[in-house]
Every structure is written in C-alpha cells, then in structure tokens.
Symmetry: C2
C-alpha cells in the first residue's frame, strides 16, 4: 500500500488531530496509507528548542517513508502557502517523491500578493512591471504561488489543484484533497 505524507497547516488548527484522522480515513477509502505530522508521539519537555528539532526530524522521517506527498498549499498568514509545508514539498522533490498539492483559495498568486502588498488599483500598473509598496517585484507568471512551488510540482509531473472553499472552511475543506486521492487511485500504481 502506497504511503502519502499529509503536509499542510492543519497542525496549527485547534482540531488538528481530528483533521488528521479525517484525512487518513479518506486515504484508506482510496487504498492509501496517510502519514500525518502529529502521528509521531512527541512528549513536551522543558527544552523547547530541542523539541522543535525533534518534531522536525520526525516529520522528515515520515517524508522519507512516504511514496507521495499531498501538500495543502492554501495561503497561510500571507500571500503564500505555509513555509513548513513548502519546505516539506521541496524535501519530497529532492527525495524523488510524487508531488501533489491543492489550495482552497483559487485567486491567482499575482492578484493575491498585490491585494496584500501592492499599491492602488492593479489595472493601472503595466504588465510585467508589478511591484509591492517597498519596490520589490511581484511575480507575474499566472501561477498559483511562487514559481518554485508550482514549478516543482509541474516538473515532478504532479498536480496543483484549486478549489474555492468558503472562508470558514478555508483550511478544513477536503474537496480538492479527495479529488487528488481519486486521481492517484486512477494512476493505478
């Protein structure tokens, strides 16, 4: 049975464990085993810095063990996906895993970034010359996130699926996640 590492910002939600169980059940429904970051039992200690390293090491281990990564790339505290998830996606790419991602916000990256960091109305700017309020370039490649994210998934023959979830379901809607599982099943390993 192929194993899927379930990357995403769910770990920061109050109901992280419940969401992990839901995702793992869906994996089973489609014939896969899901590996969730909180699966590894880690005890809190006084040494918090060391605890951070222990969790990181455990997650890297799960990614090594997985055949596939499905990353929840829904924008998190800004215009882009959660950086922890993005690191894991890069690690999985380096390890030659199958890469899949989804976002519950279908707004293109350029528009999203401009809305948060740009100045004035977008249509008044010349295409190819978009900058933020600090004069830093804003990517205009028609992609879903930073080009390294979309590009890595594309180069690995993966899929970056978009779904328009309601605001209250932004981090919990599993429509796109389940669609990716169905696609994976159809690949018939």
């Amino acid at each position: 049975m192929k194993r899927i590492y379930l990357a995403g910002p769910e770990v920061f939600l109050p109901n992280a464990n419940e969401l992990g169980l839901r995702k793992k059940q869906l994996c089973r429904d489609y014939g896969f085993e899901g590996l969730f970051p909180l699966d590894t039992e880690i005890r809190m200690g006084d040494d918090n810095e060391n605890l951070g390293f222990v969790i990181s090491r455990a997650n890297e281990g799960l990614i090594h063990d997985a055949d596939i990564i499905i990353a929840n790339l829904t924008p998190f505290r800004g215009a882009s996906a959660d950086v922890g998830t993005v690191y894991e996606l890069g690690l999985a790419r380096g390890l030659g895993k199958i890469l899949l991602g989804y976002s519950n916000d279908p707004t293109p990256f350029t528009q999203r970034t401009f809305a948060l960091f740009g100045d004035g109305p977008l249509h008044l700017h010349n295409p190819g010359e978009l900058h933020d309020r600090n004069g830093l370039k804003i990517e205009e490649f028609g992609l879903n996130d930073n080009l390294m994210i979309d590009g890595g998934i594309h180069a690995a023959s993966g899929e970056f699926l978009l779904h328009d979830a309601t605001d209250s379901q932004r981090f919990t809607d599993l429509t796109a996640f389940e669609r990716l599982l169905a696609q994976l099943k159809a690949r018939s390993f």
Copy 2:
C-alpha cells in the same frame, strides 16, 4: 572548487543582478563559486506560465549542481522567509547538500509572528498556548523560523546565523552571508 547556490529574495529587488554579482565576488574571495538564480539566461516570451516553469527548472538545476546552499532567510512579506527560498532549502536537504542560512532580522519567530498576527500584549498570554487572531497556533520553540526550516538546517549540521541589519539594508546587508563563507572556508573541504 565547491559551488554554492545563493538562495534568497534578492531576485525580487530592483538591483538583483548587482547583488548577485556582489555575492558571487564574495564567494570567489573565500575560494568558492557562487551560483545565482538569475545566472541562467532566460528569455521573456508571451507564455508567462511556461516561463515560470522554465525559471523553476533552471533553479532546480543549479541546486543539483551545487555542493552547498546559503539561503537568505530574512523574513519576506510576513513573519517567515520567502517561500521560494524555503522550497529550495528543502530541495537541497533532500539532495543531501550542505545547508546554511542567515537572517538579517534577529527577532525570534514567535515574537515576529505574534507582532503581525497576534492579539494584545504577548506577556498576557500563557506560554505554550499562543494563538493568532484566527485561533491558529503560533509556534513557541525559541527558533528563528518555522521548525522545519531551523530543524532541517540543524539536522544537516548546518548553521542558521542571525544579524541585526538596519531596516534599509534588510535584504542587502551581507555581513552574515560573509560570516558563513568564512565558516565554510574554515571547514577546509
């Protein structure tokens, strides 16, 4: 001569090429060859989505070619490092490269995240129970950024160096970068 991939948000600055040249010169000064993302000549075309993929593929190629990555992890448009840089750090980790990083903002990640997304004074919150305004957990591990970033560098026996640059030099100050080059030279490959 060992090759160093120069990851960072410099590519978004107006003087990106000049900064790339400065970083590459410093690499030479310490006996290394620097590989900068904009080194690969890519021609603008009409097909911007494809152009994003071409740049991504070129950058991934440079990371494959490198022995070492030095990532500028200075916070970019939020509390964390630039996601493109973070993806590249993860990729380099997966490929078994030497990982080094620096940030020109020495504020700990917990404080930085709380300042942008938290509610009220930090000291009124119980340790271990920090959340943002949306009820999402804020990491409290005494680290410089998301634990996967600090943890990956730590697991690779690398170094995540901090430097307090002035605001106007936040993305251009090369003090920490040069210090890492000196450390690398002392490792005597």
